[in-house]
C-alpha cells in the first residue's frame, strides 16, 4: 500500500500528481498521453470562451471612449493609457481611497462571518437543543425574503441607531451571522465530518468549546476558506447596501465609485470605468489565487490522530 499512499503527513493529498483513482496504471501509455492532450485542448478552448469578456474588458480599458463600442475585437492598436492615469484621479478622491474603503469593509465582513457563522453552524450541526429545527427553518427563511423589501425597514432601524453614513451597517450584520448562506454551508461540511472524532475528544474530557475549537475548526479548512473567499468577493462587489448607507463620497466603496463614471443621460466615461474595474479586479483575483490553496487540504481519515 505504501507506494499508493500519496498523502503527506497531515493526511492531505497534494494538488498535483495523479489522484488515487489513476494509481492502478503501470506508467503512462500513449492512450493516457492522448487523453491528457485532448483534455488540455478542451480546457484551453473552454478557458478562452470563459475569459473572452474579461479580455475584452482589459482591451477596452486601453481604448479611448469613442472607440470602445465600435470594436468588439481584442486587438488594441494604440495603447491609450489615459484611462488609467486620468481615471485614477477623475472622481472627487483618488481611486485608491475607494479601494481602501472596500478593503476595510471586506476585512470586517470576513472576520464577522468566520466568527459568527462557525459558531452558529456548530450549534446547528452538532448540538442538540430545543427548537433547533425551528431556528434552522427560520434561518433558511431569512434567505428567502427578497432584500428589496427589507432594505427600507432595515435602513430605518440603522437610522434610529445613528449608523447611517458609517461602515457599521455594512460590517456589523456579518458579526451577527446574517449571512445564512455560510451558516448552511458550514453545517453541511460539519455533517460530513465523522462523529467518532467528536466522541473521541469527549472521551478525552473535552467540553463543547474545546471540541469546537480544537477538533472542528481545524477540520473545517475548506469550508472556512470557501466562506472567506466568497465573503470577500460578494462584499467587494456589493452595490446596493453601500449606495444607501454611505452618503459622503469619501466613504464610497469600489462598486459605488465605479458607478460614478456612468451617466446614461450625458456621456459616460466607460474607458476610465473599465480601467478602474480592471484595477479592482486584481485584488479579487489574487485573493482567489492565493486562497484556493486552502480549499484543497483534505481531512485525515486514518481513523484516529
Amino acid at each position: 500500500m505504501t507506494d499508493l499512499d500519496t498523502r503527506d503527513a497531515t493526511g492531505a493529498r497534494p494538488i498535483t500528481g495523479p489522484a488515487p483513482q489513476e494509481a492502478i496504471h503501470h506508467g503512462p501509455t500513449w492512450k493516457d498521453h492522448a487523453r491528457s492532450a485532448i483534455k488540455h485542448v478542451l480546457l484551453i478552448a473552454a478557458s478562452l470562451v470563459m475569459i473572452y469578456p474579461l479580455l475584452w474588458l482589459i482591451a477596452s480599458s486601453f481604448r479611448p471612449n469613442d472607440v470602445i463600442f465600435r470594436s468588439p475585437g481584442l486587438w488594441v492598436s494604440d495603447l491609450y493609457t489615459e484611462n488609467y492615469s486620468q481615471g485614477w484621479y477623475a472622481l472627487s478622491n483618488p481611486f485608491g481611497q475607494y479601494i481602501i474603503n472596500s478593503a476595510i469593509v471586506v476585512v470586517g465582513a470576513i472576520a464577522g462571518n468566520l466568527f459568527a457563522c462557525t459558531l452558529a453552524a456548530y450549534a446547528f450541526a452538532r448540538l442538540q437543543f430545543r427548537l433547533r429545527s425551528l431556528w434552522f427553518a427560520i434561518m433558511l427563511l431569512t434567505i428567502m425574503l427578497p432584500f428589496h423589501v427589507v432594505v427600507v425597514p432595515q435602513y430605518i432601524v440603522f437610522n434610529q441607531l445613528g449608523w447611517v453614513n458609517t461602515f457599521v451597517p455594512l460590517i456589523l450584520p456579518k458579526f451577527l451571522a446574517t449571512d445564512a448562506f455560510f451558516v448552511f454551508l458550514m453545517v453541511q461540511f460539519i455533517r460530513g465530518i465523522p462523529k467518532e472524532l467528536d466522541e473521541a475528544a469527549r472521551i478525552d474530557g473535552c467540553g463543547h468549546w474545546k471540541i469546537f475549537s480544537r477538533v472542528m475548526l481545524p477540520l473545517m479548512g475548506p469550508a472556512i476558506a470557501t466562506t472567506a473567499i466568497f465573503t470577500f468577493i460578494w462584499t467587494w462587489s456589493d452595490f446596493f447596501t453601500p449606495l444607501i448607507y454611505l452618503t459622503d463620497p469619501i466613504a464610497y466603496t469600489v462598486p459605488v465609485a465605479l458607478r460614478s463614471f456612468l451617466d446614461a443621460t450625458a456621456g459616460s466615461n466607460w474607458g476610465a470605468m473599465f480601467a478602474m474595474s480592471v484595477v479592482t479586479l486584481i485584488p479579487l483575483f489574487l485573493v482567489f489565487l492565493f486562497g484556493q490553496r486552502f480549499l484543497v487540504k483534505g481531512i485525515a481519515t486514518t481513523g484516529g490522530k
Binding site: N65, D66, F69, R70, A90, L91, S92, R130, L131, V151, V152, P153, Y155, I156, V157, N159, Q160, G162, V164, N165, F239, F240, L243, I244, T247, D248, P249, R259, S260, F261, L262, D263, A264, T265, A266, G267, S268, N269, W270
Partner: protein, 438 residues
C-alpha cells in the same frame, strides 16, 4: 425554561417590529419624527448645515463641487455637503432616504419624479425663490397643484439631432426643419438610410414619450392634464400606426434593431456610433453627443402637420430642477442657495450651461459669450424657437413618469407581430390609467 425564553424572544421580535413600523409611521412628512435631514440642525444662530444631492458625471460633479465651494466662501455661515450620484441609482437612494427621514436638504429633481415627491408633500414650497427674471414658460414645469416645488435648473427642449456626415454620404440635403412635415420626415429618413447604408434613418423616435407628446399636442391632445390621462386609445393607435408606417418605409430600422436601441445609454446610441442619420435627443445633450461621436450634429426641429414650424407646439422643458426637502432643518439657507444658483452671475460663471440653458434671461445673456460652440448653438436654438411655443405641458402626475417605458413595451409587441396596434393601444391606455390610480 425554554418556554420563557421563547416568549421573551417573540416579545422582543414584536417590539423590534413595532419600533420599525413606528419609525415608518413617523416618516410621514411634517410629523417631526426621525432624525431629520442628513445635514442636521443648525438653527442656534450658528452654521446652517445643508446636504445637497445631485446625479451626474465626473464633469458635473466637479462643477457642482466648485459651486459649493464658491458659495461657502461667500457665505461663511453655511456648510454644504455634496452627495453626488448616478442617475439610475439616485432614485433608489432618494426613496430610501425619504422613507427613512434622511432626505437631503437640496435635491436635484427630474420631471418624471417631481409629482411623485411633490404630490405627497415631500417637497417644500419654494415661493421665496426669485423667479421673476425667468423666461416665460420655464417656471410652470416646477409647479404641482399651483405650488412651486421645483426651480428650473436648465432649459432644454426635445428635438432631433442630424448627422451631416451621414447625409453627405447619402448625397441627400439636410431637411429644412422649419417646413418639414411628418411624411417628409419619413421620406428623408428612408432615403438617407438606404443611400448611406446606415440601419436607422431615424432612431429612438417613436419610443420616446416626448415625441409622442409632440404628436399629441399637434392633434389637440396632451399626455396628461390635472385629471389624469389626456388622450384616448385612438390617439395611441394613431401613433403606433405611424410607427408601423415609418418602419415599413424602412425609415426607422428593423424591429430587432429598434428593440436593441431601447434604453441604450447616450454614448452607445445609434447616432453616436454612426449607425443613424437622425435621432431624438434633448437639446442639452448636444455637447455630450458631439464629444462621444466625434462629429458635429445639427439641431432639427420636430416636424409639423402643416409644414409650419410655428404650429408645431414646441415647449421649454426643465432638464432638471432644484427642490427642497419638506423636512429640511434649514429652509432659509436652502432657499438662499437656490436663489444664488438661479440668479447670481457668479454661479452661472461656474455652471455655464451644463445642466441646460439658464432660465434667468439675464444670466443667459451674461453667460452666452462664455459658452462652448456647441452650447452657443443650443442657446441660439432655444431663443429661436420662441415663436413656436405653446403652453408647457404639466409634470406627469404620480404613476405617470413611467409612461415611456410602458409604451415601449407595447410598441415592441406591435413590431414583433405579437399584437395589433388597436389592441396594443387599448392595453397601453388601460395600463397607464391603472398606474395613475394607485
Amino acid at each position: 425554561m425554554a418556554i420563557n425564553r421563547r416568549q421573551f424572544l417573540i416579545g422582543a421580535g414584536g417590539l423590534a417590529a413595532a419600533a420599525t413600523t413606528v419609525g415608518l409611521a413617523g416618516c410621514a412628512p411634517g410629523s417631526g419624527g426621525g432624525t431629520g435631514s442628513e445635514g442636521g440642525g443648525g438653527g442656534e444662530g450658528g452654521t446652517a448645515n445643508l446636504a445637497l444631492a445631485w446625479w451626474g458625471n465626473p464633469t458635473r460633479n466637479k462643477n457642482t463641487q466648485a459651486m459649493i465651494d464658491a458659495y461657502m466662501k461667500a457665505n461663511s455661515n453655511v456648510k454644504i455637503t455634496g452627495q453626488p450620484g448616478e442617475f439610475s441609482s439616485y432614485w433608489d437612494k432618494l426613496a430610501t432616504q425619504t422613507a427613512g427621514g434622511t432626505a437631503p436638504d437640496i435635491i436635484q429633481m427630474d420631471m418624471a419624479y417631481i409629482a411623485e415627491y411633490g404630490n405627497r408633500g415631500a417637497l417644500m414650497d419654494l415661493k421665496d425663490v426669485d423667479v421673476s427674471k425667468f423666461v416665460e414658460g420655464t417656471v410652470d414645469s416646477g409647479k404641482i397643484n399651483d405650488t412651486l416645488v421645483g426651480v428650473n435648473a436648465g432649459i432644454n427642449t426635445p428635438l432631433i439631432f442630424g448627422n451631416p456626415k451621414v447625409f453627405e454620404k447619402a448625397k441627400v440635403d439636410l431637411p429644412d426643419d422649419t417646413t418639414w412635415t411628418w411624411d417628409q420626415m419619413s421620406e428623408v429618413a428612408a432615403e438617407v438610410a438606404s443611400k448611406s447604408g446606415v440601419p436607422f434613418g431615424l432612431a429612438a423616435f417613436f419610443t420616446s414619450d416626448q415625441m409622442f407628446s409632440a404628436f399629441l399636442r399637434q392633434n389637440g391632445k396632451e399626455l396628461f392634464n390635472p385629471d389624469g390621462l389626456a388622450f384616448e386609445p385612438a390617439d395611441a393607435q394613431a401613433w403606433f400606426d405611424l410607427m408601423v408606417k415609418f418602419q415599413k418605409a424602412k425609415a426607422i430600422g428593423t424591429p430587432q434593431q429598434i428593440s436593441e436601441e431601447f434604453n441604450k445609454p447616450l454614448d452607445q446610441g445609434a447616432l453616436v456610433v454612426g449607425k443613424a442619420a437622425m435621432q431624438h435627443y434633448h437639446s442639452n445633450q448636444l455637447e455630450a453627443v458631439n464629444a462621444a461621436s466625434g462629429e458635429e450634429m445639427r439641431l432639427l426641429r420636430t416636424p409639423s402637420l402643416t409644414g409650419k414650424a410655428t404650429e408645431r407646439k414646441a415647449w421649454y422643458k426643465a432638464s432638471m430642477l432644484w427642490s427642497v426637502s419638506a423636512k429640511t432643518k434649514s429652509p432659509e439657507a436652502a432657499v438662499a442657495w437656490i436663489n444664488w444658483f438661479a440668479n447670481d452671475p457668479a454661479a452661472a460663471d461656474i455652471e455655464k450651461a451644463e445642466r441646460g440653458i439658464p432660465p434667468n434671461s439675464e444670466l443667459q445673456e451674461h453667460v452666452r459669450p462664455k459658452l462652448s460652440p456647441a452650447q452657443q448653438t443650443v442657446a441660439k436654438h432655444i431663443a429661436d424657437i420662441k415663436p413656436e411655443l405653446a403652453p408647457t405641458p404639466i409634470a406627469p402626475p404620480p404613476g405617470g413618469g413611467t409612461l415611456g417605458q410602458v409604451m415601449g413595451r407595447y410598441q415592441t409587441d406591435v413590431l414583433f407581430g405579437r399584437a395589433s396596434t388597436a389592441d396594443a393601444a387599448k392595453k397601453f391606455v388601460d395600463e397607464v390609467k391603472s398606474n395613475l390610480q394607485v
